[in-house]
Amino acid sequence: MNKRTLEALVGLFVLLGVAAMAFLALKAANLGSLGGGASYTVQARFDNIGGLKPRAAVRAAGVTVGRVKSIVLDGQTFQGLVTMDIDSEYKFPKDTAAKILTAGLLGDQYVGLEPGGDDNNLAAGDAIAQTQSAVVLENLIGQFITGRADSAGTTGAAPAAPASGPAK
């Protein structure tokens, strides 16, 4: 085999390997969905973020419009401060509400945005005022059990306890 064919074959091998790496990074991992267009950041404080993780999706009407950038504890209010990157092509009214939701019964948690009716849009750095925390299964079960116990103990009394639970 002469030198040129050898070098061409090695070049082909390296090209194949690099193409495989590009495939793994772009098609089979998240590089393709990273960055891309411009985005703006919006913050929201939640009483409980549940299992939300950085890079979780931010969805409006089920459509992914951004990603969670970071989650830290706000030292003053002791709430979870969630910073989100939202694609610049999507604008939301100022009174948009943010909820932490779960995809399916046991799926990932994501932030769901529910647009309000304000004329002004959220700008970069704004904080979302209306938030609803993640549903923590243990709390829910706890409320269910105490609700059952209350209603069993005080037969005929007003069923006050179960309703007061998830109102936060």
Partner: protein, 259 residues
């Protein structure tokens, strides 16, 4: 008393072996710049080590992808999570199976041929002849093979994983009928480029160093007889495989212990 003497002697022999191998590795590293100046030698080794391992690596990757997809499907479909098939196949291939299985195959395919080649060069006194002509055999023979192994291994592991994922796609989407969009979308939302793909390739590079150094050392230290070369070739496969599995555990613990 006798036991004590034996233990001490055994420890010293082991330590001497380790020191010898470490010095050999350092000598070879020192010869790398010199061999890079003769780049044609490196290219020829990438061909011998990398190109000629392509068929076995890609065929195995495809088979592993097929089988993983089939087996995972049976388990996942019980929980109604068949769409996560792509994710599971991807993570198992990119993080573990890609680097480890391709390194084991690499030890069997390329490592043995390196050991046999060097061992026979030694048996035929070619290495001694080079030293007589004041040519450093480490720079002329060993270092280009080391570079070839380190360059080839991550490329082969990436190909193994990529072909495996495509194989899983064929089984899951074309044969079983999992939704293609979900197959890719769940994968893309959960697999991180640096944590998963990057660390997998880093593992492959480490395995490349292990395989090549073990193979070259065994060849270089082989007894210059047909039996000696045969034993050295066997030892190459056994030692590299054990090292790969051990190193894989340590690397996995370091890389993926935090979710």
């Amino acid at each position: 008393m006798n036991l004590l003497v034996n233990l001490g002697a055994w420890t010293l022999v082991q330590l001497r072996g380790w020191g010898h191998a470490a010095l050999f590795f350092l000598d070879m590293l020192r010869a790398v710049p010199a061999s890079l100046r003769r780049f044609g030698l490196v290219v020829a080794q990438v061909y011998a080590i990398g190109n000629r391992s392509l068929v076995i690596i890609m065929a195995s990757g495809l088979a592993v992808g097929f089988v993983l997809a089939l087996q995972m499907y049976y388990a996942l479909v019980i929980y109604g999570a068949a769409e996560s098939l792509g994710l599971i196949v991807n993570l198992s291939l990119v993080r573990e199976l890609g680097p480890v299985v391709s390194a084991l195959l690499f030890a069997g395919r390329a490592g043995t041929s390196l050991t046999a080649e060097i061992g026979l060069m030694k048996a035929g006194e070619q290495i001694a002849a080079m030293e007589l002509m004041a040519i450093d055999p480490k720079a002329r023979v060993l270092a280009p093979r080391l570079i070839g192994g380190i360059v080839s291994m991550p490329l082969l592991a990436a190909l193994f994983s990529a072909v495996g994922i495509l194989g899983a796609w064929v089984v899951a989407v074309q044969l079983i009928g999992v939704d293609s969009g979900n197959f890719w979308a769940i994968m893309q939302s959960q697999v991180d480029v640096w944590r998963d793909v990057g660390n997998g390739l880093l593992k492959a590079a480490v395995f490349g160093v292990i395989c090549t150094v073990v193979a070259l050392y065994q060849g270089y230290e082989a007894d210059a007889t047909p039996e000696g070369v045969a034993h050295a070739t066997t030892r190459t496969v056994v030692i590299s495989s054990l090292w790969i599995l051990g190193a894989d555990f340590i690397l996995t613990a370091l890389m993926f212990s935090t979710p």
